[in-house]
Symmetry: C2
Subunit: 319 residues, 2 copies
């Protein structure tokens, strides 16, 4: 081999992590294990998504509606090679609770006696409700580090304030919170960064038009630069009801039509195409016939060419 060719080979090897292994293959930025994907009724399958940087077991958990049963399903699917109890205790490093409705936090409360010490990240209003309504000594035990005495101090409450970026303890990731409008509650979107990649998870949210709010518009404006630079790898967003649901009974949720209208807003703000962009659809509400309808409507109304992903409980997704 000539010196020049040898130099080229060494350069190629050094640059491999940057250019990726095999030019056709997209490198993975996030590994997601959905623990629960539905928007109600079925106690065994309520909103919760474990997310980690690939190759690590340093997971965060977006919402915590169902934990144990979802982890068991994931273990049965080969997503984890240690027992379910150990996944909960060792792999989940922190919880990100979008709002305090029971279907987003029941799993965390039910599993708390068997969990290890970790941090709960949320907006101040959400943490107030956790302290006031869940970790009380009448409805459970106080496993938090604040609220009704005696505080058992297993969970540390970390209040997030919109627009400040916070390191996520025991992971190499950071988080930024954005407020969302969910009927009478402030819900939350979490923008998580891992290396130079981002993922955005939205808790329950209505459309600005219905909610008389600018929260979604502000969120799209904030993340548009990350779409332009292709640093945002996916958005996880709800579609709770089919299009037929009347506005007055949306209760702070989106329909396929309203979700796609929001995606058009985002496409406009980011000055480009969203074709092929990964959109993970969460919080579909039973009955089964509604879920079938929501999926069909989203596909039919997807004129932007988004890559629609319908997560399944216990089935990992790599982005």
């Amino acid at each position: 081999m000539s010196n020049r060719n040898c130099f080229r080979l060494v350069l190629y090897i050094l640059l491999l992590p940057v250019i990726g292994f095999g030019q056709g293959k997209k490198s993975t930025s996030f590994h997601i294990v959905p623990l629960g994907v539905l928007g109600g009724i079925d106690e065994s399958n309520l909103s919760a998504y474990m997310v980690a940087a690939p190759g690590t077991n340093d997971y965060i958990c977006f919402d915590a509606g169902t934990l144990h049963y979802g982890i068991e399903k994931a273990v049965n699917n080969g997503a984890f090679s240690i027992p379910a109890e150990q996944v909960l205790r060792r792999y989940i490093k922190g919880y990100f609770i979008s709002h305090a409705h029971l279907d987003h936090i029941a799993g965390l409360i039910i599993n708390s006696p068997d969990d290890t010490a970790k941090t709960i990240y949320a907006l101040g209003s959400t943490i107030e409700t956790i302290k006031k309504d869940y970790f009380t000594w009448e409805s459970w035990a106080n496993f938090g580090d604040d609220g009704e005495a005696p505080a058992l101090k297993k969970y540390h409450y970390q209040i997030l304030t919109p627009d400040s970026i916070v390191n996520i303890k025991n992971t190499a990731m950071t988080v930024q919170a954005f407020p969302l409008s969910h009927s009478n509650l402030t819900s939350t979107a979490f923008l998580v960064q891992s290396n130079s990649a981002y993922i955005l998870y939205l808790g329950d949210t209505g459309a600005d038009e219905i909610e008389k709010s600018h929260n979604l518009q502000n969120l799209w404006t904030a993340i548009a630069p990350l779409i332009k630079t292709k640093k945002l790898k996916a958005i996880m967003i709800e579609a709770s009801f089919p299009d037929e649901q009347p506005d007055k009974t949306l209760f702070g949720h989106l329909t396929p039509k309203r979700l796609m209208k929001e995606m058009h807003q985002l496409a406009g703000l980011s000055g480009g195409s969203l074709k092929g962009f990964d959109l993970i659809i969460t919080h579909l509400k039973p009955p089964a016939a509604s879920i079938v309808k929501i999926k069909a409507e989203l596909k039919a109304e997807n004129d932007l060419g988004l890559n629609l992903i319908f997560p399944q409980q216990g089935r990992p997704i790599d982005l």
Copy 2:
């Protein structure tokens, strides 16, 4: 056939409902469909038991930790011949909540948007916690008929006071409540009568000795006459931890040894044998190894010859 023989045949036919079909067969007094049987962690299998008089669909539900998933399992097992949603809406006539810990009420809250109007029966302290911590507008919506405004009034709160017998709406059954000691909470035992038969369900409870209480002793004294007259068909009672659990970490629960000690008390008070009496064991706490241990210990310590029944989710029991 002679007149005498004909008269005998007619008499036999008329008496059939009284003497039972086939002399060896015990007539059934209660039909139970367990919707959830465990004492924690697994969100898909938390305490809830539907109970009706045989041949009716007028069920009550003792506790409501898991509803939808348990009903689905029961439907899949052929226990009901209508869809799960309809079982919830049409067959459950009222909920009996023993205490307000989340693992005894999460299913009721999660399913409330899809439920029909009915009554929640509980002691005043339990209903206070439901109003204060669950049916609030921060943690859910207020589906009760009292508490934080606006009250949606789907559920009527019926406060039970110990020692008064109350008709259960839309059923032919009555209920009487007894207080139990469960660490810092007052839990409840429900004595339900259907025709001339009774069944006793106990929510979480510790032993009097540990709880510094007389609640179990008082309960056994009250029901002893029903044991003597064989009107009490079964007791549903918890055994949460194996015998090795230290007293200071019982958190208001029973072990096999303490449960059997209570049964000896009851046998003494009822002045006779409990041999063959149906004892349904509830609220076994995972992990699986603990559950195996609890069952083995109960069998080994069953010198009274009780008929130990370990309910399975979605598998009916006839008593």
